[in-house]
Symmetry: C2
Subunit: 340 residues, 2 copies
């Protein structure tokens, strides 16, 4: 077994000291062209790659960040990854993925592991740990940036879409189509992004002078199953002609429940989602929804984290990005709708 070459091997082959090799490799200090070439040749001949572990031990930077979230099988969370990787890779960093299943113990376990691993920072989404705990970690010097679902901590930068505006756009779209019996399948009460979307929904109704009916709101928990159940109860109790679901996943459940009840989307009931997951364009019918700029959110958050890790403080704490309505086939004018 040939052990991997070290900087010492390169130095000896090039006839210089390890300090010179180190400087040449990192571009620090001036190197004579001739020695530079010799080092280059030695590196190539030996196929030398610096050991980043040893480097980290002295530089105090591991060139590694972490993404901590409940579940990567949730398509929205997954959509964040490519933006993160793009930015991280550009900075020479890799990303540790830590999924917690929403279990606070797993969160603690990972956070502890991440600290031991000396990660440069961590991106968090959908944390369940109390905000004070996070603040504590920040005080201890761990750079943290929150994206998408926020937490109640002013010590952590936050990057997310303008949820309230997005919900308003969705609802206004339905109103513009002539709907007034518009139901909302909400996320999870108490969750900030969920409450913001409810507010946006109400904003739009109020602005249009449409009376708000509590019987038109049910909780879907952001899941297919929840959206399905919520809609079943809604269909029985109210005369709805449209549904605004808090996210695309629950919109799937909504559409399923509607179809099962013998109604058709959008002929009998229009449906709008939120997120604009990739699959939203491939449901039957394709889903009208509110686009979240997931890639940009992820990029921005990653850049913020990298800056923080580099000692550059964030200029502002809150970064709100713009949502955008995407009209597809799951909504249509009320005139075409049969009132049931």
């Amino acid at each position: 077994m040939s052990a991997r070459p070290t900087i010492y091997d390169v130095a000896r082959l090039a006839g210089v000291s390890t300090a010179t090799v180190s400087r040449a490799l990192n571009g620090s200090g001036q190197i004579a062209p001739a020695t530079g070439a010799a080092i280059d040749a030695a590196v190539r001949q030996l196929k030398y790659r610096p050991n980043t572990v040893a480097r980290s031990l002295v530089t105090k930077s591991t060139q590694t960040i972490a993404l901590l979230l409940p579940d990567i099988a949730n398509p929205f969370y997954a959509a964040l990854v490519s933006g993160i990787q793009e930015r991280a890779l550009a900075a020479g960093s890799a990303m540790l993925l830590c999924t917690t299943e929403g279990d606070p113990e797993r969160e603690e376990q990972y956070l502890s592991l991440l600290r031991a691993k000396q990660v440069d920072g961590v991106l968090v989404d959908g944390l369940v740990l109390p905000p004070e705990r996070i603040t504590e970690l920040v005080r201890e010097g761990l750079p943290i940036v929150c994206l998408d679902r926020d937490i109640d901590s002013t010590s952590v930068p936050l990057v997310q879409v303008d949820n309230r505006l997005g919900a308003r756009l969705a609802t206004e779209h339905l109103l513009a189509l002539g709907h007034t019996r518009i139901a909302h399948v909400a996320g999870a009460p108490g969750l900030r992004i969920s409450d913001e979307r409810v507010k946006g929904y109400r904003d739009a109704l109020a602005a249009a002078g449409v009376e708000r009916d509590p019987a038109l709101v049910a909780v879907g928990g952001f899941t297919e199953e929840g959206g399905y159940e919520a809609t079943r109860s809604l269909l029985g109790a109210s005369q709805l002609t449209a549904v605004f679901a808090a996210n695309d996943l629950s919109a799937l459940g909504v559409m399923h429940a509607i179809a099962e009840s013998g109604r058709r989307v959008p002929d009998d009931v229009s449906v709008v989602g939120f997120d604009d997951l990739r699959l939203a364009g491939h449901t039957t019918p394709p889903l009208t929804t509110v686009h979240q700029p997931a890639f940009e959110i992820a990029q921005r958050a990653t850049q913020l984290l990298l800056d923080l890790a580099g000692g550059r403080a964030a200029a502002q704490r809150l970064h709100l990005l713009e949502p955008q309505l995407v009209v597809r086939g799951s909504t249509c004018p009320i005139r075409l709708t049969k009132i049931m």
Copy 2:
């Protein structure tokens, strides 16, 4: 700024040497109960956490593995993560996620980064780099395990579902329902898992004595879009009453195309998918599909990798897990089908 405590601080506070602290922390060697308690107290008081970077430098193990694949937004890939994390975390390891977008340069870039980072091993799925390149890396001492989509390298253990059997189960299900005009929306020609599924489809037809019709097979590329396009061409050219799609994603496209043509699923056309993604249970109608034990595949592959990294060679190269048919609402007997 209080620097994080080191093993030296703990040793001094506990009145022992760093070697003793190290032994106590790692459970190596015998420690007197009294000293153990003193060390424990010191650790707690200082909130000491070993620096794994320094540890790695000497142990040659980073307690880190990597998952290298094209795109985590693909739900099937995402489904692999939890099984990996479960096993890795149990072994005290974290997982680096490396997404390549199917770009060979990105694959090389990541592989190089991973080597520099001294990861203990890497799990690969959907690689596009030539098998020889992988074999080379293995020879250089990098533990690699392949899961799901395989590569042509006998030097790499492989864990996947029995694709041929799965496809056969799907097709047999349709045959049992009385269908004979069964189309297949294939994956990507040349891709092993895709070809295996085509074989399974043919196996079933042959066993049932149903003549094979080339006009009933089209390429869907494993995507929603591809499944949609393939089905549109299929609907024009053949008298099909059922479609077996190579995966659930393309099955979404299949269902969309069918609905768009004015036909109904399953009344006019039955549809079967492959993978059993979470969303398969929430389409309209819910999708009959072939379940892949993704969690087990991931677990098995991770265990194999960890073993390999620990110097324990894999007993066998190929690990085929059993698929299982899951019948939902997208298939029904031909007697209920209107021949069009």
